[in-house]
């Protein structure tokens, strides 16, 4: 069930809101959990078992980690003191939760990919007879990458003593399964919503702001992302393209993914607000970034901060050996070796997190390399004296090029597309046919409007902050146009919902 589908907009969401607000305050988290499981089980009820397993393992392991022997079961669990000695029971609970959650993700997301690569490797080695037949194909459970990252972050935070383990299973299950964030994030940390799970305020202002977030998100998805997607799909599915068409197609995809993810984030934040939850910004005008590090402070913020806290920082520290420390000082911090290496490793993992495929790994690695190269640029570099618009452009173009890997079906297609971008692809009979589709005025205008909005429109966050009648009317009109547009075409899923 996707946010831009009829069933969600006209049946599930109104019914969920009605049920939620009719439920007495102390039963609302449980009601929300039930609704979230129904939402999640809509496509495949068996997947709710995985969601429950991840929740239950993380919950019980955290309780075991935090509970001191002899404490009554009703007592609030203490924060773990990382100076205190750790018992074998605590250590086992921590590792059980981490290994079990990552195994769930590993098996359900990467089994098929691993098998395909193993077979390919055996063929390359001339060991065809040893190929493992695919006895079964694993269907990717929706949102597993997102909720596993939530449960893993909770486990680590409890272990490190930065959050108190909860005894309230209903609250914790509500946190993990909260349907607005279940399919494609944001990857909200438990510590961010722990207080809100215990008690939250529902106001008409909050609800109205949530509704406007929803309207604007829906409009971004239906009117902009899906239309830009038509141009991008045509170009990326074409056998060959002229150079101009290839750049236009890539620009359209760059706009599509921006509005698709921005739309999802808006709708997720909006629906959360409707249920009284306030969550942080996940998207902060990423194409306004004037460096790659700046881009990652703005794009999918909940993922980039997750990677920073749980992967980048520990890895960075691990690489900081005595020899590296001495060398950094000797060279007057000209080269930040641990950060350079960690960027490449962490962003390659970030790529693979998005999808089990070499294209995603290449996308992540490209970002890691760009970030690593950026480390070599000092603060006194002439780059920082360039006009901001030029710096934004120098950041935007490589990021757009990296999207080729993200969008292409496989590495061969990605390199083929790069060939078209740089005029290296041969022209075929079909090349001119593409132009007949992608330059239709409606498409051209939509892609141009998307570009104008990216670089000049206020963020939804700011637009909805002080809601006036005029702004509300805008939202309402956009909602009506979006619904009318939805009637005329089949809805397409959110890109990030596939991860």
């Amino acid at each position: 069930m996707l946010f831009s589908s009829y069933i969600f907009l006209f049946v599930f969401l109104p019914a969920a809101l009605l049920l939620y607000y009719l439920t007495p305050a102390r039963g609302r988290n449980l009601a929300l959990t039930g609704l979230s499981y129904f939402f999640y089980g809509w496509a495949n009820p068996y997947f709710t078992l995985l969601l429950f397993a991840s929740t239950a393992i993380s919950y019980f392991c955290a309780v075991i980690m935090a509970r001191r022997p002899g404490d009554p079961a009703t007592k609030e669990l203490p924060l773990l003191d990382d100076e205190a000695p750790v018992s074998l029971r605590q250590k086992a609970a921590f590792w059980l939760s981490i290994v079990a959650n990552l195994s769930l993700l590993g098996f359900f997301k990467y089994f098929n990919f691993g098998l395909e690569n193993l077979n390919a490797l055996l063929v390359t080695l001339g060991l065809d007879h040893l190929q493992v037949e695919g006895l079964f194909r694993i269907a990717l459970p929706l949102g597993i990458s997102f909720y596993v990252f939530k449960t893993v972050s909770y486990t680590i935070d409890v272990w490190q003593g930065s959050v108190r383990a909860t005894r309230n299973f209903a609250d914790f299950a509500c946190y993990v399964s909260l349907f607005p964030q279940l399919i494609a994030g944001p990857i909200v940390r438990y510590r961010e919503v722990a207080a809100q799970l215990a008690s939250r305020i529902h106001t008409s202002e909050k609800f109205a702001r949530g509704t406007s977030f929803m309207c604007l998100g829906l409009a971004k998805k239906v009117l902009l992302a899906d239309t830009c997607g038509k141009v991008a799909d045509t170009c990326f599915n074409a056998a060959t393209l002229s150079t101009l068409d290839a750049w236009y197609g890539l620009f359209a995809y760059t706009m599509q993914i921006y509005f698709d993810f921005s739309a999802y984030s808006d709708m997720a934040i909006g629906v959360c607000l409707m249920f009284g939850f306030v969550i942080s910004k996940n998207f902060d005008s990423p194409y306004h970034a004037d460096s790659f590090a700046d881009f990652w402070r703005r794009w999918h913020i909940s993922l980039s901060t997750w990677l920073r806290d749980y992967l980048f920082t520990p890895l960075n520290y691990m690489l900081l050996t005595d020899r590296v420390r001495e060398r950094m000082v000797r060279e007057k911090f000209r080269y930040n070796y641990p950060a350079i290496a960690s960027s490449v490793v962490v962003f390659t993992i970030c790529g693979i997190w998005h999808g089990a495929g070499w294209t995603f790994a290449a996308w992540g690695a490209m970002h890691g390399i760009l970030l690593a190269l950026e480390q070599l640029r000092t603060k006194k570099s002439a780059y920082w004296k360039w006009p901001k618009a030029l710096r934004v452009c120098c950041t935007f173009v490589p990021i757009s090029l990296a999207w080729v890997f993200f969008r292409a079906a496989d590495l061969g297609s990605a390199f083929g597309y790069f060939g078209s971008l740089f005029g290296l692809a041969p022209k075929t009979a079909g090349t001119d046919l593409v132009a007949g589709v992608i330059y239709q005025p409606y498409y051209l205008l939509t892609v141009a409007a998307a570009a104008v909005l990216v670089w000049s429109a206020p963020q939804t966050w700011d637009f909805t902050r002080a809601l006036t009648w005029r702004k509300a009317t805008w939202c309402y009109v956009l909602l009506l146009i979006s619904i009318a547009t939805l009637v005329t075409k089949a809805h397409s899923p959110f890109i990030y919902a596939a991860f």
């Binding site: 900081l320 950094m328 000092t378 603060k379």
Partner: protein
């Protein structure tokens, strides 16, 4: 020289800005270029200047310069 004065000199060197003035309330948002990548440089520079060693947790939980100063003072006190 007290911890804050020495630390100010380190910030100027690491963040390549001679006129930088830090206070206990200074956070990463206030210093141009202080992010998770350049934080490594800062940590190593501080370790070398004060002859102390931080562990992973020390480097993870710092919220502002004040906490860094307290951490340095604690490490120096532990050393005796």
């Amino acid at each position: 020289m007290d911890t804050m004065t020495t630390l100010n000199g380190i910030f100027c060197e690491v963040f390549d800005e001679e006129s930088l003035q830090i206070t206990r309330a200074t956070t990463a948002d206030d210093v141009d270029g202080w992010d998770s990548l350049s934080h490594t440089n800062l940590i190593v520079a501080v370790e070398m200047a004060f002859n102390v060693r931080f562990n992973l947790k020390d480097t993870r939980v710092l919220k502002d310069v004040g906490e860094l100063v307290d951490l340095i003072d604690r490490k120096l006190a532990e050393k005796g």
